[in-house]
């Protein structure tokens, strides 16, 4: 086998995998512009299902609820994620450290159905004893925040690990009180990780169907719950339209963020070049 053939093989293999990954998404988008009531039989292009979407009050209410839950969940997750990551990273030995780290990674490895079931059973017993909380937004939020905290902890921990441990000491050495060390040195260096943890936990929450189904009460349906219940019954052109809208938003966000970071990189390079030329004159 010569190297050209190897190259050809590798290219076609990679192309096949990307085709496998993107073909369903592309089909989904294309058929969202299909006028036919039968989702998979193409009649002609129209925006009909988008118009239907605008009238679909169930769906719109679900989107609003999902956005609310996802935003709160992301904020709570990042907050507890920072605390957990710090506790595990800063203190190498304390009573029950092993327990904390395994509890923090449990939601990552447990199937959603188990996390959902166990949280629900706990909330039911809590309600039995305390009469609180009612199942609804708050209980869904708790479930999502638990899952999100586990993911945020991973993201923050990996950033903390690659940070030079002497930076904290240097800050303290130069006169920073512990809280100043955090606000002046650790937090600014952690910021990119916090942004990605926020986006990740937001997406997780916005995407979740299993936990929400266990934890929601009557009248609280998140967007994935609505989609799931419709998809279970069969194909539904409104789902295609929803999918296209979310895909469009995600694509725009990803392109914008990569454009922004490329611009930042260019600016940094330009400044660097400027600094070098200044140094030489």
């Amino acid at each position: 086998m010569n190297s050209n053939m190897i190259k050809w093989c590798s290219r076609s293999w990679m192309f096949a995998v990307y085709f496998f990954l993107y073909m369903p998404i592309v089909t989904l988008v294309i058929y969202s512009f299909n006028d036919s009531q039968l989702v998979t039989v193409w009649s002609y292009a129209s925006m009909r299902w988008y118009a239907v979407l605008m009238q679909d009050s169930d769906l719109i209410a679900a989107v609003v609820l999902s956005l609310k839950i996802a935003s709160f969940s992301a904020i709570i997750s990042v907050f507890f994620g920072i605390l957990t990551a710090f506790a595990l990273n800063r203190y190498k030995r304390f009573f029950g450290r092993m327990l904390l780290s395994s509890m923090a990674s449990a939601p990552l490895v447990m199937p959603d159905v188990i996390v959902g079931l166990s949280l629900l059973l706990m909330l039911v017993s809590m309600q039995h004893w305390l009469g609180y909380p009612e199942r609804g937004l708050l209980t869904i939020l708790l479930g999502h925040a638990l899952l999100g905290t586990a993911y945020a902890t991973v993201v923050v921990t990996s950033r903390l690990r690659e940070m030079d441990g002497q930076l904290d000491e240097a800050a303290m050495d130069l006169g920073c009180h512990p809280w100043q060390v955090f606000s002046l040195v650790t937090l600014p260096l952690l910021l990119p990780a916090l942004v990605s943890a926020f986006l990740l936990t937001f997406t997780l929450s916005f995407d979740d169907v299993v936990l929400s189904s266990f934890l929601s009460g009557p009248g609280y349906s998140t967007l994935p719950m609505v989609i799931f219940s419709r998809a279970r019954l069969g194909l539904n052109p409104s789902i295609n339209a929803v999918a296209t809208v979310t895909i469009a938003i995600v694509t725009i966000a990803v392109i914008a963020s990569s454009f922004y970071s490329a611009q930042q990189e260019r600016r940094r390079k330009r400044e660097q070049a400027q600094a070098y030329s200044d140094a030489n004159t």
Binding site: D164, Q166, L167, E169, A170, A171, M172, D173, L174, G175, C176, H177, Q180, L184, V185, P188, L189, Q272, A275, D278, A279
Partner: protein
Amino acid sequence: MSIAPKGNAVCEDLLRVEEVTKIYDGTIKAVDNVSLTVASGEIFALLGGSGCGKSTLLRMIAGFEAPTQGKIFLAGEDITHLPPYQRPINMMFQSYALFPHLTVWDNIAFGLRRDHLPKEQIVARVESMLSLVQLSQYANRKPHQLSGGQQQRVALARSLAKRPKLLLLDEPLGALDKKLRETTQLELVNIIEEVGVTCVLVTHDQEEAMTMASRIAVMSEGHFLQLGSPDDIYEMPNSRQVADFIGNINIFDGIVEEVESDHVIVRSADCSHYVGYGMSGNSGRAVGVALRPEKILLSKEKPAGKYNWCDGEVTEIVYFGAYTTYHLKLNSGKLIKVQTLNNARDLSGNFSLGDRAFAQWSDLAMAVLTQ
């Protein structure tokens, strides 16, 4: 805050470490009952291999670790339990620990801002620090846009900016490559002397310690093996461990035959040593005689007298350019190293492999090691 007087004028003790012990996990003794004083204006080096406790001692002085026992005083004040941010001590970290999100200027100003100095004063101080380390034109760069040597100078400027009473250097040249080290070493000493700050440095590199410090403490397993000036430690090591650690050395195992107030005679397997100074202890004691390779003279003729020479066969010749090291196999089978300066271009008349050669040395070239 005041600066120590210019130059290395030695005043009263600035730093006093009293019987400090650090025990980790209840069992591991990192530092074992160490006491030391550092005078104002002095450059003091803690020298030792990894895990000898030198870094732990430095970190206790900086305030990052609390001693298990003992006290630390700075200018007469007990600072043992003062947090690092309240000590008038600054440290230059091994990794430099420059804040990656701040410019050179902001890195240097960082400590001054914590003291809430007036703005004009901060500007003036940072500018003077930048010119001290000759980095004024790099003020607006981020640390990752600087070379290793430049980063090191920023770290130095940052740790000097607050005019600390005591400057701590943790392996100051450890992150630099060998060629850069020598010039940086001199620069560093010049700047420290110009500022006149008292300095404690930690290093595993004996050359670095000897060229930079006015006094050295050799550490091993948490305690001091020897404390003295660089030449004391080089010329008069007090133990085999110190002798082995500092430079190349030949050690002859022998028995003391005669002890007088002005000399000692030691008999080893290959020769009799007449040591030109007295020592305590009785004859019959087993000791080691330490002899540096560069203090030995190699000749083809048998030396006169009965002391301080031996003969053997040249088994290896290693040419270093400026000098050559000969390995001599003595009659007992012991190997010794002899170093000769190549101060003539003509190398004929030197020894070749298999030659018999006589090694001789003066009676003040040796150190008697009792432990």
